[in-house]
């Protein structure tokens, strides 16, 4: 770990510029962009071999399934860019998913339909965001390692969701609310639009705003960032809050698709799916660098791989094994791409 050079916020390493003069090194290029190359290769494979792949329906199925993971990964990418990690996202999804039906199914909610739908959105997402902010507060106030700090919310959070609903399934039928998971705008599923907007905003924020530069600066070298006047603790708290907000949105998407909320299951294992997408997308866990678009590509790659295997008759369990190999392989090839 000590041997990896600490990249500053602006990553313009001289060798890359110099290398432009030399002939294009395809090997190094593909190692560096392994995830993108893998995604393109998989797409080509599917066009040739998988029947009915080239249809809008297939595209929509895959995008719909991947949307929640990408939405959570956006927040996770920012957290990992600060050198942290957020294990609590799945539990926060369960909480926001448990809260929304409690609001619009309540007697008050049935009387004031429009207001309760609005409240269901705002309160659930805000609650997840607040608990995310609590993660950030806990981590910065007590100087706790992020993995331990968010482990608290991972354990307690799902319990809170279960206690809220008494562990019961909450079935519902609420087309207005479920627009976020079932609706379409110009044929595009709404959650896919939400996903793309979040990715675009986060990518823009990381590159173009002070807050984004501060995230990368403190992730690269926290002491240096603190000494140069970056409000390290405040930035971190916001980053964990944003991760919580993303998880809150994802929780609402999931329950809308299912037309029911089950606090025992919503978001289960999501933290590892999101972390895998971020890792495959090329954001290093040491912090200081981040690619939100990379996380999108990573999530798409993992999803498409699973789809390809299932569509070609490989059992889901074997797909899990392949997923494990792909995660290790992608991260390994990126490491080699950087050192090469």
């Amino acid at each position: 770990m000590m041997r990896t050079p600490q990249p500053g916020p602006t990553v313009v390493d001289a060798p890359t510029i110099a290398r432009k003069a030399v002939p294009f090194d395809a090997g190094a290029f593909f190692r560096r962009y392994a995830a993108l190359a893998g995604l393109i290769a998989l797409l080509l494979f599917n066009f040739v071999w998988t029947p009915h792949f080239w249809s809008l329906q297939t595209l929509n199925v895959n995008l719909t399934q991947v949307a929640t993971i990408v939405i959570v990964s956006v927040g996770m990418t920012l957290v990992i860019a600060t050198g942290g990690i957020d294990l609590s996202v799945g539990s926060l999804m369960a909480i926001s998913g448990a809260l929304a039906p409690l609001i619009f199914l309540s007697p008050f909610g049935r009387e004031h339909v429009a207001l309760s739908n609005l409240l269901a959105f705002v309160v659930s997402i805000a609650a997840a965001g607040l608990l995310g902010a609590f993660n950030g507060w806990f981590i910065t106030r007590f100087r706790v390692q992020p993995i331990v700090g968010t482990l608290v919310m991972f354990i307690a959070g799902r319990g809170i969701g279960q206690v809220l609903t008494n562990g019961n399934l909450q079935p519902f039928h609420n087309p207005t609310f479920q627009f976020i998971g079932l609706g379409r705008i110009l044929g595009v599923p709404v959650q896919v639009i939400v996903m793309l907007v979040l990715v675009a905003v986060a990518a823009w924020m990381l590159r173009r705003t002070l807050f984004g530069r501060q995230i990368l600066a403190l992730g690269g070298n926290e002491r240096a960032a603190r000494l140069s006047g970056v409000p390290v603790d405040r930035v971190k708290r916001w980053v964990y809050a944003i991760s919580g907000l993303c998880a809150g949105i994802a929780g609402l998407v999931v329950i809308s698709i299912n037309s029911s909320s089950d606090a025992n299951l919503v978001g289960l294992g999501m933290e590892l799916d999101a972390i895998a997408a971020v890792a495959v997308g090329g954001t290093p866990f040491t912090g200081g660098q981040a690619s939100v678009v990379g996380s999108l590509i990573g999530a798409l790659l993992i999803q498409l791989l699973r789809y390809t295997l299932l569509a070609n008759g490989v059992p889901d369990a074997a797909a899990l094994v392949v997923k494990g190999v792909i995660i290790a392989g992608a991260v390994w090839s990126q490491q080699r791409g950087k050192s090469a």
């Binding site: 007590f142 307690a156 997923k323 494990g324 490491q335």
Partner: protein
């Protein structure tokens, strides 16, 4: 803060913190047991004590492997699914008898451990990523071998003795876990391997420069964690009469919590085997106490409260550790 920390030699500061945390976990465990013993009639009864020990021995085993991985500044996310996969394999081989079933199960842990160790020590993947990948591989293999359903173990052989039997009045799993902790303690305190683990966790680069076999020690740490997790899986199969590919979800995070409660720092370099066991028992007893509390009839807490209580407990432990950290630094 930097000026204050500089006054202390780097080596003593974290170990002093860990020592304080370890004392606290022992005190907390004793207090919880006293509370239970005074409040509930059958808390210290043979039935309750033995069933708590029998059930928690599985988590004790996964936490022991996790404890060593964390002491090298690593982590092993694969312990839960390794146990699940091992329980399936052990169940498949159980008709051949106790020993073949157990050895086949342990083989799973050996294999997963070797893969994890290779990825961390040779491919230089971050332990978190490497063992996340190992976790998925073990889980997928378990489901494949079990054809997505539980595999019943054979009751014709004495395989189930490993999970359900007693020896000298104590459950066999408790004996196994106890033996593993004695082994772990001896390994940590009386072998060069144990000292290397702490040295590497404290400062990997310095250990490398000193000529310690860093990669080899890390490799074997993950193999050991895999084998211990698969032992938990064998007990799982024997105790519940089935190999269960879907079990083990969240065991890794429970184990991490137990290790943290036990005062082992995730930064590596310091740790204690004995207090990890105390951490496991503490988290396990919280559930037990909640059950007894419900039994009294004063309050009715649903089982879902146990995760809330565990989370809050972990939070208090971490906060207490942090407070003690600042006091220790100030007083030095």
């Amino acid at each position: 803060m930097s000026a204050e920390t500089a006054k202390l030699p780097a080596a003593t500061r974290p170990s002093r913190l860990a020592w304080a945390a370890q004392q606290r976990v022992l005190i907390a465990l004793i207090l919880l047991i006293l509370f239970g013993a005074l409040r509930y009639d059958h808390f210290l009864g043979a039935f309750n004590v033995l069933s708590v020990l029998r059930y928690n021995s599985m988590f004790a085993l996964t936490s022991l492997g996790m404890c060593f991985a964390i002491m090298t500044a690593g982590i092993d996310l694969s312990v839960g699914t390794t146990a699940a996969c091992a329980s399936v394999v052990a169940a498949i081989f159980s008709p051949m008898g106790l020993l073949p079933g157990m050895l086949a199960g342990l083989g799973v842990g050996l294999a997963v451990g070797i893969v994890n160790g290779f990825m961390v020590a040779r491919m230089k993947l971050l332990p978190f990523i490497a063992t996340l990948s190992g976790m998925l591989m073990a889980s997928g293999t378990g489901f494949l071998l079990a054809h997505n359903q539980s595999v019943s173990v054979s009751y014709d052989t004495d395989f189930t003795w490993l999970g359900q039997g007693d020896l000298l009045g104590f459950p066999v799993p408790a004996w196994i876990a106890g033996a593993a902790y004695v082994y772990g303690s001896l390994l940590l305190h009386y072998t060069s391997f144990g000292r290397y683990i702490l040295a590497i966790g404290g400062n990997e680069e310095a250990s490398r420069l000193m000529g310690l076999p860093v990669d080899r020690v890390i490799f074997w740490t993950y193999v050991q964690s895999g084998v211990l997790a698969s032992l938990a899986g064998v007990i799982l199969a024997a105790q519940f009469g089935a190999g269960q590919p879907a079990e083990g979800v969240g065991w890794e995070l429970f184990s991490i919590a137990a290790v943290v409660v036990g005062g082992t720092l995730l930064t590596g370099g310091v740790g204690s085997v004995a207090t990890t066991l105390a951490g496991v028992l503490l988290l396990g007893l919280i559930f037990n106490v909640l059950n007894f509390e419900n039994g009294l009839g004063w309050i009715s807490l649903s089982a879902y409260w146990q995760s809330v209580v565990r989370g809050v407990f972990l939070m208090i432990v971490v906060m207490a550790g942090s407070g003690a950290a600042r006091r220790a630094i100030r007083s030095a």
